[in-house]
């Protein structure tokens, strides 16, 4: 395992992804934070306080993880993770599907979102597209894939990542 600061190319790929979603998102979300990567089986991308780079080198050398996981990188493609979606949803609604409170509750148990529960959605999303699912208060609760357009062109969404993971996989504390 290697934990290191992202190269300029890698960081620009991440920033480019967020800028594409919303102009100015990079500054709003990252501010002065650094991008780090954790290389293990794949490449995890994290956002980290710029001060962490000042830790002693021998401490960084034995670190297993630094910062907040926001996505993964495959080649030069950045893929959003749960907390990346949470951050993005605070500055952009371009790929957010807003659902009812009841649907949000069921989603956290891993259930699909049916069209009837969708309150608002970007008209451009279609089958196969990824979207950020938000509750009625515009808080991101996961990332989904649009399965189809249902009644009134409302999307039907299956979970890809949902916040319920923190409960199901960890088993509480």
């Amino acid at each position: 395992m290697t934990v290191r600061r992202a190269t300029a190319t890698e960081a620009n790929t991440v920033f480019g992804f967020f800028e594409e979603m919303a102009a100015g998102a990079t500054q709003d979300i990252f501010g002065t934070s650094d991008i780090w990567v954790v290389e293990d089986d794949g490449m995890v991308v994290t956002m980290a306080s710029v001060d962490l780079a000042d830790l002693p080198e021998d401490v960084v050398a034995v670190a297993d993880h630094i910062g907040l996981r926001i996505g993964t990188m495959e080649g030069m493609d950045f893929h959003l993770d749960l907390q990346g979606a949470v951050l993005l949803a605070t500055v952009s609604r371009s790929m957010t599907v807003r659902v009812s409170e009841q649907a949000a509750r069921m989603w956290l148990y891993g259930k699909d979102i049916l069209g009837d529960s969708v309150l608002s959605w970007p008209k451009k999303v279609g089958p196969g597209d990824a979207c950020i699912v938000v509750n009625p208060r515009w808080e991101a609760i996961g990332i989904g894939e649009v399965l189809e357009k249902g009644k009134g062109q409302r999307p039907v969404i299956r979970p890809v990542h949902d916040l319920g993971t923190y409960l199901r996989d960890q088993g509480g504390d």
Partner: protein, 331 residues
Amino acid sequence: MSSSKIEAARIPAGPKVREWSRKHGFDEWMVARFVRLLPEPQRLLEGLTTPPPKYIRVNPLRADLDEVRKRLDARGFKLGRTDLDPQVLRVRHAPISPGATQEHLLGMTTPQDLASAAAPIALAAGSAETVVDMAAAPGIKTLHLAGDMEDDGRLVAVEPDPDRMRALRFNLERCGISDTALLQCPGQDVPGEAWADKVLLDAPCTGEGTLPKDRKRRRGRIEEITDRASLQCDLLDAADRILRPGGTLVYATCTLAPEENEAQVQRLLDRGYVLQDLPFDSCGGAALMPGVTQWPGLELSDALRKAKRFVPGIHPTLGFFVAKLRKEGSS
């Protein structure tokens, strides 16, 4: 620092101890030690056999306290304020587990015991500092430290166990913490010298303070105290090594045993550390119990009165010990 073994004191059990032991289902050696330790052992024994109050702490990085309270009120929760930490709310009624709410999953709240907030409060971590949480999982206190540091600065969380590290990572991620480096290694193996401004060691312990939620601990081997004390010595030596002169160390456990508490702090005092006043002296309206200065087999300084104990039955918490020390010298 001396590495001499700290042996657990065996206190003879009289008739009253045997009676209380039978009544509450504890080992006699355990009750005998409680009776020696506390002026009101019956209140402790009642407290140790009563389900503990539940609390949640609101993550200031993710939500405003009043907003969270309003949201959980709307879900049927009944919450009350606490006097130790304004971010901690007592859960008086919960229609579902506080760890299963949307607010929890959104990183706005985390279940925790009130007393465990005492250790981060004592450390008073700041945003420009290098802070180490040496036995971090599941990360409840790490979250508190990150909040105090406004998710800025350098926070290092250490945990040797892979499963517990996973829980730690999930908790930090859920709460959106980005100023933390995670080290999966024994605390003794944290590298370097004199680089940390502040260290929190909430040490692995025999957990006598958690008896209200864990009946299994009512029976055990007294030798476990000696074993844990040995591990605590090693961890404190490592904490001492990485802490810069003039830095602050908070030592805490969730056990009552003086061998795991005052005896450990005394080793640091012998090395020139100075005990500091804690920024709290009561909880739930009752004064905290000062650290003991007399215990069979131990030579303890009067300064140890500055350390404090939370005692089930007297305070509305699990049992907890906390001491704040300053390392001699300047940075």
